[in-house]
């Protein structure tokens, strides 16, 4: 197959644009994560995630984000393979040229970021997709849905057959079971708006009765990072992310031709600070939960 040839610089420019987009995304994601730390039973966190989950512009960006990530990985790996092929016989002596470690290890730190993403997806996103079981939550007002209310009305007015009444009662029992459990175990939090920390077994009976069961990332985070092994794996992979990002931003500027003697030092400094802020921001959550909860 003869793929259309895309010039090296064009590919690099796509990688840089996409990379900058990913960098902005990371900042937003970090901001939401930090809401986890507020001792408000997840109110801010849920509000922020709700906004991200329902806003249409954000939903479009979610698709763009996945496309961007995949494009970034495919192009960088393709470029890297060409780069390896460009030197078929390697030097005997290791290079002693003055360069930064971060810039030389982009493919490896990128690979570790990929490992992180896979782990992170299994831990969180797969729950949303229903591929993995996690914790769930449901809005209290969703529990007694309009449909159930209508059925209730109809039942009290004697409009339902005996069978239908029996069905309605069994539904109500299941819904009540959740409410009772919430009451007994204090699961409801966050001004009684949400019943949280429900297991897969808890919510299974609700299937087809109430909608609006959502993954409870708030409690999943606390559970996950309460596990020291996970926390430490996450933290180690964040170190790789830090290295990737330190070079990433300044490299993207250079690739886009934005190099100026007056601003180079600033760009370099900004890349470092941005990378450190992102990674410290992300690291705060597991560290806090692991050490103080």
């Amino acid at each position: 197959m003869n793929l259309p040839k895309i010039a090296s610089i064009s590919k690099k420019i796509v990688v840089a644009c996409v990379g900058l987009f990913l960098l902005v995304f990371l900042l937003v994601h970090m901001g939401i994560n930090l809401c986890l730390l507020r001792p408000d039973g997840g109110a801010w966190y849920i509000a922020a995630s709700n906004f991200m989950g329902t806003n249409y512009i954000i939903k479009v960006f979610e698709v763009v984000l996945f496309a961007a990530l995949i494009a970034h990985i495919i192009i960088t790996v393709a470029l890297q393979i060409q780069n390896w092929k460009a030197r078929p016989v390697r030097y005997h002596q290791p290079s002693k040229s003055k360069t930064s470690t971060a810039s030389k290890t982009m493919i490896w730190t990128g690979g570790l970021v990929f490992v992180f993403l896979v782990l992170h997806f299994v831990n969180f996103y797969f729950v949303k997709m229903g591929l993995v079981e996690g914790k769930y939550m449901i809005q209290t007002e969703e529990l007694f849905s309009t449909e159930l209310q209508n059925e209730y009305m109809a039942a009290t007015q004697g409009k339902l057959s005996e069978e239908e009444v029996a069905l309605f009662q069994s539904k109500m029992e299941k819904v009540n079971a959740i409410a009772v459990k919430a009451e007994a175990e204090g699961l409801s939090s966050n001004d009684m708006k949400w019943i949280m920390n429900l297991s897969a077994e808890d919510v299974k009976p609700l299937e087809g009765i109430v909608e609006g069961v959502e993954p409870d990332f708030y409690n999943m985070s606390y559970e996950l990072f309460g596990n020291k092994v996970y926390s430490i794996i996450y933290l180690l992979l964040f170190v790789a992310l830090a290295f990737h990002l330190i070079h990433a931003m300044q490299s993207a500027f250079q690739t886009l031709g934005l190099n100026h003697n007056k601003y180079n030092k600033f760009i370099e400094g900004f890349s470092w600070i941005y990378a450190i802020i992102i990674v410290l921001g992300f690291a705060t959550v597991p560290v806090y939960i692991m050490c103080f909860v």
Partner: protein, 250 residues
Amino acid sequence: MNFTLKIWRQENAKAKGRFETYKVENISSDCSFLEMLDILNESLISNKIAHPVCFDNDCREGICGMCGLYINGRPHGNDDGVTTCQLHMRKFKDGETIWIEPWRAKAFPVIRDLVVDRTAYDKIIQAGGYVSVSTGGVPDANSILIAKDKADKAMDAAECIGCGACVAACKNASAMLFVSAKVSHLALLPQGKVEAANRVQKMVEKMDELGFGNCTNTYACEAECPKLIKRSNIARLNREWICARVGKEK
């Protein structure tokens, strides 16, 4: 001074190479690296030990770009801003073991020993690294006005001697520093600007075609360039490329 040399020997392009060990003694600290190799070769010939070690060179004053050896992990050796012919033995420790390798890149195949074929660079120049009409002799002063900073930048870029150290140093064997120097010194001047959009596209296409790697902004090239060509030229090359592609001229 005395040295132990580990030199890459390879009979021809197809042969399998290997490192050979030679000892040189009583070398003056003012000897240049190539003179030291001359002394080695004389002794190899007169003592009938081996065929002399082949290496490229011409001017021996740092202006032609012919010489170029990968010495102890650095192109042009352990000194900044010099070519191999301008590297002196006082930069080494007495008794040191020195590893000498040819440039390693798919686009620069080894011809023999330490000599590599750098026609790939010529091909990139042939693709567009020139002004296609004669611009005549030296013009009258001030007949074409050029801003001082532009002239300085163009001159700095024009210093590139095409030695190939940037490719040799780069972990990706990328020729971006060389191409960017050539693109820059022409694009910055009025005589070269006219064809700039065309030139950058043709030269980059040729560079890709010849099997050089892709730049990852690691800047080993800048660290090793004997003419101290700066990375800002690569950024300019990228800018020229973007403008040319947006303009779609070809």
